[in-house]
Assembly symmetry: C2
Homo-oligomer: 454 residues x 2
């Protein structure tokens, strides 16, 4: 342990700072598994906001970068280490407290999304945002990326539920933004600025999250289509009249990857599968299901089945959720997260298919189709330099296809380190300059999540 790190270790309780090689090996990486991950000087496992402040003050004094980290499930390299930084893990700060009268959860950043859901459910309440990884991703990461999920087509994304937060700024100051009040427009919307800032402006040490009454049971429609274009057309159609609580799409490659991994009897010949749920209460659920079925049939569905049994429905949702895991045996994956306006979904999906063919890589696609947000997964052989080269070309091409269609390079994963090269292509030089101005104003030394998008 060098003198500079020792200074920090001495200022914090035993066991908070580690320079153990095996530990650092774990903290270097996130789920991006990028070979370019750097090696941190040390990892800090903060147990309180004071530890975070102490660490940031120390980092500011020495001009050392701080990479904040929740559960390390970033798919964009957002919590990947850079050489010479410290990784600041929030995993030990994981308290969850429910205030039933105010209907909020007060949550530390290391708590998992599922823990907030469970604590809320115990009081008959619900925290809606549900990234596919909700059982293993942290609230800190959710807030940092403004995470979405499956139900956000009806219930919105993380930012819609953040009422307040404590943030440690780049000079170690702790500020409280918002609180348990539902509406508050006093001053600039700094709270909303910090949501989605990916640890580049400050480090969240507490979040006040809005809860709502428990969700009603859902009915599920599963429809297969000859082509993804047909399925996408059905999505546009049903969006006109139904506020579905889930509108997920799997393309043929994704269906087959899941069937290979865990056979569930999905139709391997279908061009695409739509998984749509309605949680409308009472008899209206049947009306919504009928409207969803009609939209699918109108756009050439091969087979449509619907069920009111939540367990049957959940089985299909599981098939969708394991998509990412199901790809593991197939090779390494560059996970995409591009989105377009919903009417451009068919065109984006066609482009992705063409890109896969052009670069000779497999690109199974799942999509939060109701939001136009797709997750093409570019599969490659990490041991084969040419395969990786072709995958990276495809990765860039998919982002540029989304940009050309009026879309975004990231709908919910964040830019992180994997996509920073394409951010300016999307937003243009003027908005890029705005990003930099805000960053420079709040973190003039550039110590917060260095090497990330801004």
């Amino acid at each position: 342990m060098d003198d500079v790190v020792k200074e920090l270790a001495d200022a914090l309780p035993d066991g908070v700072v580690t320079t153990d090689e095996a530990a650092l090996e774990k903290y270097r990486h996130d789920w991006t598994h990028d070979a370019g991950a750097g090696m941190p000087l040390a990892a800090v496992r903060a147990e309180s906001a004071e530890h975070v402040q102490e660490t940031v003050r120390w980092a500011a004094r020495h001009g050392i970068g701080v990479v904040p980290r929740g559960a390390g499930t970033s798919l964009s390299g957002g919590s990947m280490a850079v050489d010479g930084c410290v990784t600041l893990s929030l995993e030990r700060m994981n308290r969850v407290e429910i205030d039933t009268d105010s209907r909020v959860a007060v949550v530390e950043p290391g708590a998992f999304n599922v823990e907030v859901k469970r604590a809320a459910a115990a009081e008959g309440l619900w925290y809606p945002p549900d990234p596919s990884s909700y059982e293993i991703c942290s609230i800190g990461g959710n807030v940092a990326t403004n995470a979405g999920g499956l139900c956000c087509v009806k219930y919105g994304v993380t930012t819609d539920y953040v009422l307040g937060m404590d943030v440690v700024l780049a000079d170690g100051t702790l500020v409280t933004l918002g609180g348990k009040r539902i509406k508050d427009v006093a001053g600039l919307s700094l709270l909303k600025l910090f949501v989605g800032s990916e640890g580049t402006l400050g480090i969240v040490t507490k979040a006040v999250l809005r809860l709502v009454p428990a969700q009603q049971p859902s009915s599920t429609v599963v429809a297969t289509f000859p082509t993804v274009a047909d399925a996408a057309a059905a999505v546009v159609e049903l969006g006109r009249s139904v506020r579905a609580s889930m509108v997920e799409l799997m393309d043929r490659a994704s269906i087959n990857a899941v069937e290979d991994f865990r056979p569930m009897g999905l139709d391997r010949d279908a061009g695409a599968l739509l998984l749509v749920q309605s949680d409308a209460p009472g008899a209206t659920r049947a009306d919504e299901v009928a409207a969803i079925v009609a939209a699918c049939e109108l756009h050439g569905a091969k087979e449509v089945l619907d069920t009111d049994d939540p367990e049957d429905g959940e089985m299909f949702v599981q098939a969708r959720r394991i998509h990412f895991t199901a790809l593991e045996p197939r090779g390494s994956v560059l996970p995409e997260d591009v989105g377009v306006p919903v009417p451009q979904l068919p065109e984006l999906l066609a482009e992705i298919e063409a890109i896969g063919q052009r670069h000779d890589v497999e690109i199974p696609v799942v999509a939060h189709a109701g939001d136009g947000n797709t997750h093409p997964a570019i599969v490659y052989d990490a041991g084969d330099a040419d395969s990786e080269r072709r995958a990276r070309l495809a990765f860039d091409d998919v982002m540029h296809a989304a940009i050309r269609l009026g879309g975004t390079i990231t709908g919910e994963h964040g830019v992180g380190r994997m996509k920073k090269g394409c951010l300016e292509d999307q937003v243009g030089p003027d908005v890029m300059a705005l990003n930099r101005k805000v960053k420079a104003a709040l973190d003039p030394q550039g110590i917060l999540n260095p090497g990330s998008f801004v």
Copy 2:
């Protein structure tokens, strides 16, 4: 017209710039009717984003302040002129375009909220945010203040519906943030930062607003209570199980002011009236109505009536909406907009009553009770210096009461010029410094809405 103003007038089409005294008299004021309103050098009635850019570039060159203005219905002095500024009116930029496939409205800032609602309704779609003034307030103002309204207890506020915008920055650059895509986390959440920035960071020249399928018909519950505390307790209670689409409260003074103005048979002896709607579909509406009625009865309601007739319900909503107009015959009004966490609502209402007594001023209160957002209206005699002095003391006391209860000085009107003296008391010096850093980064000359909160 002096040389500097002439330079601008020459650069823009005839009739865009005016220095006509009668016109300026109109543009000086907003609905705050504050005697301290300044006199602008000129008013610019922009017809395009280019006119806005031209004006801002000219202002930057000469170091002249620009006060942007939509319909001038600000209740916080947000669009009030300051001496030597130009007022930049967006009233002529009022196009509304509906894209049904993307389910968005593309709207210029001068369009009224009601015009967006109407255009959306013509396509079977709905733009939810509904400030009480929705028939006469502009979308530009709604975006600038992150306006709320009656249905936002269930459907959220303006920021939840802004998918994109064009903004003219302090140097005249026009940037496009977001777009028709529903989810987008690429880069900092600048879009959300500009929403609610009250014209201090840039001038919105176009907004892309999310639309949803048309609202279902509503059932209405009207309940009277012996005290506001009972009514507030019923609000907390029903929030546990019901996602009501409207939860409005009127206190005795407000009921009587409305009855004086337009007799509707409201119970003048009630301590408070709750007006609650459910727009749940199908048979669930009856379940929600039953739960709302039960919550009211549990907390001592004197009388509870419910109706499924939308016209009957709308009559009560009108009674609530005319509250502000009904106060006109009673004198001048300092309109408050303080909010607290919902469980603190009874305490806030009790405090407001005590403040009225202490300063001997009438303070009728209506509240978006389900959000904890109240509108105490401090009535005074503008011709009587002592009355005005007491009103201003009450105005400050109400804000500080909200702050003490963990609340905010403004839930939806904005800080503007009327409340800027109290902003730091709420957010503290560190958050105030953060506001100033962001402002300085984006508008270093301080020409955008000078004299406003930051």
